[in-house]
């Protein structure tokens, strides 16, 4: 009985360990596949072509710059919307709202996070785009701004949840100390609580940005998908084409193994690397902040 128990224990422990390592395995697998199918693009298409400003793959124009700028401008717009709103809402929920409202608001915001992106895109083409076109007197409502607005809506719940958790975990003693010194609640929030929750809030922002960069369906439906180089200020109110929409729109049509196929995987690789970099920065910020906190508290 003893022996079979320890043997079973051994097998199960090994299985659990293997599951633990699985995350690394999957990340490496994904990275490997993207590289395997994406790197040939660098061989088949000249770098100068990849860095050109024309994206028209069926005639051999593989300029990635319009797509990259498209993604960047939509993400920038979304971040400018989601971060203030998200942190503001988090502050409200955690510091200002009465207890009963907090219990309602938290699930409500989480609800928004669950809204499928295709539903938001659907409402975008039916309502948001025409509305924006009329409101801002634009040639068309299918613009980067519409994308940013909806992406902001998608990213806000992430920012709110993580930021609110961070604010919530700031020890009460911090606030009480500030009040004891005569600070108003408002001053306490801005000068004590938020700085104390800094690493969590930064994580929230980074996660929000990550969510915005990676969104596909919504941008495909409302940004117009025009491969324009989006570097002027007015570009925000013009159609753009994001990297994610490009992959989604064109992947179905490519012949397996063609240059177009490889370039699309290359774009996927770029997206993967961008999210990798964002995450590494975020976790190193948190790591360093934690170390600092440990030093202070010890």
């Amino acid at each position: 009985m003893e022996k079979s128990l320890t043997w079973r224990e051994f097998v199960i422990t090994r299985l659990i360990q293997a599951s633990g390592y699985s995350a690394i395995i999957f990340v490496l697998l994904i990275f490997f596949f993207l590289i395997r199918e994406g790197l040939p693009a660098l061989v088949e298409v000249k770098i100068s072509s990849l860095l050109s400003v024309r994206w028209y793959p069926i005639e051999g124009y593989f300029g990635l710059l319009p797509l990259i700028t498209g993604s960047l401008i939509v993400t920038l717009g979304a971040t400018l919307i989601a971060v203030p709103l998200g942190i503001g809402t988090a502050v409200y929920i955690s510091e200002i709202a009465p207890r009963w409202m907090r219990e309602i608001l938290k699930p409500l915001v989480e609800l928004l996070g669950g809204l499928p992106s295709v539903v938001l895109g659907f409402l975008g083409i039916l309502i948001v785009s025409p509305f924006l076109r009329v409101l801002l007197d634009l040639p068309t409502g299918l613009t980067a701004f519409s994308g940013s607005l909806l992406l902001g809506a998608i990213a806000v719940p992430t920012v709110v949840s993580v930021a609110e958790d961070a604010l919530d975990s700031v020890p009460r003693a911090y606030r009480e100390g500030a009040w004891a010194l005569g600070a108003t609640p408002w001053q306490t929030i801005w000068r004590v609580t938020l700085p104390a929750a800094r690493s969590g809030v930064l994580t929230a922002i980074m996660l929000g940005i990550g969510r915005a960069i990676g969104e596909t369906m919504t941008v495909m439906m409302v940004t117009g998908n025009a491969p324009v180089l989006a570097i002027k200020l007015g570009s925000l109110f013009s159609p753009v084409r994001t990297m994610t929409a490009t992959i989604a729109a064109e992947m179905g049509e490519v012949a397996n193994g063609s240059s177009h196929y490889h370039v699309l995987f290359f774009i996927g690789m770029v997206l993967f690397l961008i999210s990798l970099v964002v995450n590494i920065i975020a976790s190193s910020v948190v790591f360093r902040a934690k170390k600092r906190a440990e030093r202070i508290l010890s």
């Binding site: 024309r54 005639e59 025009a226 491969p227 180089l229 179905g252 049509e253 490519v254 012949a255």
Partner: protein
């Protein structure tokens, strides 16, 4: 909580079994079912769907699945060997034929209907007609304001299908490049590439600055279709079954289905039926032009 879980499991079980009952009755008659996979052009997809529905009603032992994705998608799938019939609203390209041959696939072309490409504008737009050259200049970016072609002082917002669409490629070759194979004109960079016909229709419907193009079958009655002249000074013609057949409408094309080699068995029967009067009537009903 256990009770909640049980209820939830029970309900989902009920729903799944409802579906399974349907599937099992289908499966019972399915053991001898023949499956036809049909994929490709978004222009043809609704026609293919109508055909599939009609055909399956008359032949319950045949299962036809229809998917869109664009002509390029369908041909790519044929080349990869994952579909039986590829729908395409443009001719297969030489590179694609070469790619197919290298994988042992021999694409055979069947013309299954004809289509007119309508150029549509918002009903409030005063412009009624344009020449091919004018349309080409609009889409290549040379003309950017409606006032230059007789309209109001408004910016022209150009709508197009995505590059994987046969309609897009056809429009590029026939209108932008006016049929000239050596012409390298491209769509202007700020042309909006919308993932579907409906996207074009809804934008044109709500935006007075917009111009778009799509198969006649996709153009609803409340949008204005422009009359097209092949050359300046020529006759301006609206698209219809008649003007396509007598070749007075400038932008008309054949619609194709491609198979791997000459079709046989159930695929041959289906393709033969598609060219029958019954199926071609469906073509006309949906706004396309019958093949004959």
């Amino acid at each position: 909580m256990k009770r909640v879980l049980t209820v939830f499991l029970g309900v989902s079980f009920l729903i799944i079994s409802c579906g399974s009952v349907d599937a099992s009755t289908a499966a019972a008659s399915d053991s001898s079912a023949k499956y036809i996979e049909n994929k490709g052009s978004d222009t043809i997809v609704n026609l293919a769907l109508a055909w599939a529905e009609k055909y399956q009603a008359e032949h319950p032992d045949i299962r036809i699945s229809v998917t869109g994705g664009g002509s390029g998608t369908g041909i790519a799938a044929l080349v990869n060997g994952t579909v039986d019939i590829a729908n395409a609203s443009r001719k297969i390209k030489d590179e694609e034929i070469a790619e197919a041959k290298s994988k042992g696939i021999n694409p055979v072309e069947h013309i299954i209907a004809r289509d007119a490409i309508a150029v549509i504008v918002n009903p409030k737009n005063p412009v009624n007609q344009l020449t091919l050259q004018q349309i080409s200049d609009i889409y290549s970016g040379k003309t950017s304001n409606w006032s230059e072609v007789g309209g109001e002082d408004r910016p022209i917002v150009k709508l197009s299908r995505e590059t994987n669409s046969g309609t897009h490629v056809y429009f590029l070759e026939t209108v932008l490049r006016l049929g000239n194979k050596d012409d390298k004109t491209l769509f202007s960079m700020d042309t909006l590439l919308l993932p579907s016909s409906e996207g074009i229709v809804s934008e044109v419907r709500s935006n007075p600055n917009a111009v778009g193009y799509d198969g006649l079958g996709y153009v609803p009655e409340d949008l204005k279709t422009l009359a097209i002249a092949k050359e300046a000074g020529g006759m301006y013609v609206l698209p219809s079954i008649q003007t396509v057949n007598d070749k007075t409408y400038a932008i008309a094309r054949d619609l194709y289905m491609y198979t791997d080699g000459e079709p046989s068995g159930v695929i041959k029967e289906y393709l033969d039926w598609i060219l029958s009067n019954e199926a071609q009537q469906i073509v006309a009903d949906l706004g396309f032009v019958p093949a004959k």
